[in-house]
């Protein structure tokens, strides 16, 4: 009887292990170390949260026959992955940081492929009364009234833009972060930060695309959406293999060409109109938008 139980138990364990191991194969990919032949990019969270990259990934893999791996990372960490050679290209949105990245030799060139605008969003009641102000004035008022503001706080493109607005409004960023408990640093992606703003009845700076994609769930509204400082340009940068060993610039360039192709630019233009009633991105086919 004891023996029988032992045998039964062994069989159970072995089956479990085999099921687990074979699971590795049936998981869509038979190879666990296929770093070759795959293109790997890091994309800013705001592009990912809208679902745009998921849609582009499927099309790209089908049309070009290249497996695309997409990492979800804010602009800061995305560029760091690029410097370390862990990705072949990045899709980011912080112009000054990107230009530095290219000046340092890590990236080949900056290819703007779409843009939209940042918006300051908040509760419908607008407790701080900042509607219709300029972005700089709105930030000043938030500071003065100590109204809850959720910052990305993660060195992302949106965070970089937020810092630029604080600067334009006449504040030193250090002074803002230590100004009190009303200033909350989330340290999360754009979607989760919008959810936090909603939970905490606070304001936040968001890109238009992610905001529209999350609008339904958060109940937040656009409070400030005009001002040239709010321009938000997404660009694609291929990592330079001369500087970063092992980067696959050839495949990355295929994706760059794919992104600025007429067909995909049209796809980006239409993306989200069916679900959100408004297009999330404006395509710009490799040219820097000016306003």
């Amino acid at each position: 009887m004891k023996n029988f139980k032992n045998i039964a138990l062994s069989i159970l364990l072995i089956t479990a292990m085999l099921a687990g191991l074979s699971g590795c194969d049936s998981g869509g990919d038979s190879n666990i170390i296929p770093a070759q032949g795959r293109l790997r990019i890091a994309t800013t969270t705001s592009l990912y949260d809208t679902g745009l990259w998921n849609a582009l990934e499927d099309r790209f893999e089908e049309e070009e026959g290249i497996r695309l791996d997409i990492l979800y990372a804010g602009t800061g960490i995305a560029l760091e992955y690029g410097r370390r050679g862990d990705v072949d290209a990045v899709a980011v949105h912080a112009k000054a940081t990107e230009e530095q990245f290219i000046a340092d030799g890590y990236g080949i060139e900056r290819i703007p492929f779409a843009y939209n605008y940042f918006v300051i969003v908040g509760p419908a009641e607008d407790p701080a009364g900042i509607a219709d102000l300029s972005p700089e004035e709105a930030f000043k008022k938030l500071y003065d009234t100590q109204t809850t503001f959720i910052s990305r706080g993660d060195a992302s493109g949106t965070h970089t833009k937020e810092k630029a607005i604080w600067k334009a409004a006449g504040y030193d960023y250090e002074e803002v972060t230590s100004a009190g408990s009303w200033y909350v640093e989330a340290g999360k992606g754009m979607g989760p930060t919008l959810q936090m703003a909603s939970e905490m009845d606070g304001y936040t700076l968001s890109d238009m695309g992610t905001f529209l994609a999350y609008k339904g769930e958060t109940g937040l509204v656009t409070v400030v959406d005009e001002g040239s400082i709010l321009l938000n340009v997404y660009s694609f940068i291929v990592i330079d293999p001369d500087k970063v060993e092992g980067a696959d610039a050839e495949k990355a360039q295929i994706l760059a060409d794919f992104l600025v192709s007429d067909e995909i630019q049209q796809f980006i233009k239409d993306y989200g109109t069916a679900d959100y009633g408004d297009s999330l991105f404006i395509p710009c086919a490799g040219n820097e938008p000016t306003s």
Binding site: L9, D25, G27, D69, R84, D86
Partner: protein, 234 residues
Amino acid sequence: MGELWQGIIRALELIVTFDPEVMAITFRSLGISTSACLIATLICLPLGSLIHFTNFKGKNLLVSLIQTFYSLPTVLVGLLVFILFSRAGPFGNLNLMFTPALMIIGQSLLVMPLMLGLIISALVSLDKTVADTAFSLGASRFQAGLLSLKEARYAVITSVIMGFGRAISEVGLAMMVGGNIRGFTRILTTAISLETSKGDIELSLALGFILLLISLAINVILSQLQRVEKSAAR
């Protein structure tokens, strides 16, 4: 409340219809954690008995050190593995960053202290006469170790399953070194974390249920083992 209820129904739907994405993520999770445990077991069994049967200075210190690492933070192991295996790191040319293979390496590092410690204590709690008898009959240290491990098999299997439980439920390491790439390194825990942040509560709940089922299965096996062990002792 409505959200939760709807989520539960949708989650059950995803499970009973064997939704391909849910299934793929589940099997990937199982595959990675099982492989990690297998590797950790292969290393910990000989290493554990070696430590147990060898007397050396600082042995107690080593054992307490191993026990301290039972609750090694997963993100810390993640950071270490990231620094080592990122292309700019010392093992960068292996090109393993953001692959399931690296997640397996990371998870086996993560569970090794736990497994090693539990295997050593299983050997300690074993009646000393087992090894003594073996030695008196002329067994080598290797043979005595093998015999002891065989005698302590239930406790050893328990340690392996405990290790598996830790591996399958961790999220920090998998996120940092796997990168949560769709269809490639996305596993149960990282998917739950991402889908929740994207607001897809149903998928998160479905994956959460599956994770819970796996924990339940682990628990059942563990308690079954203990029952068998007790009746074997009688």
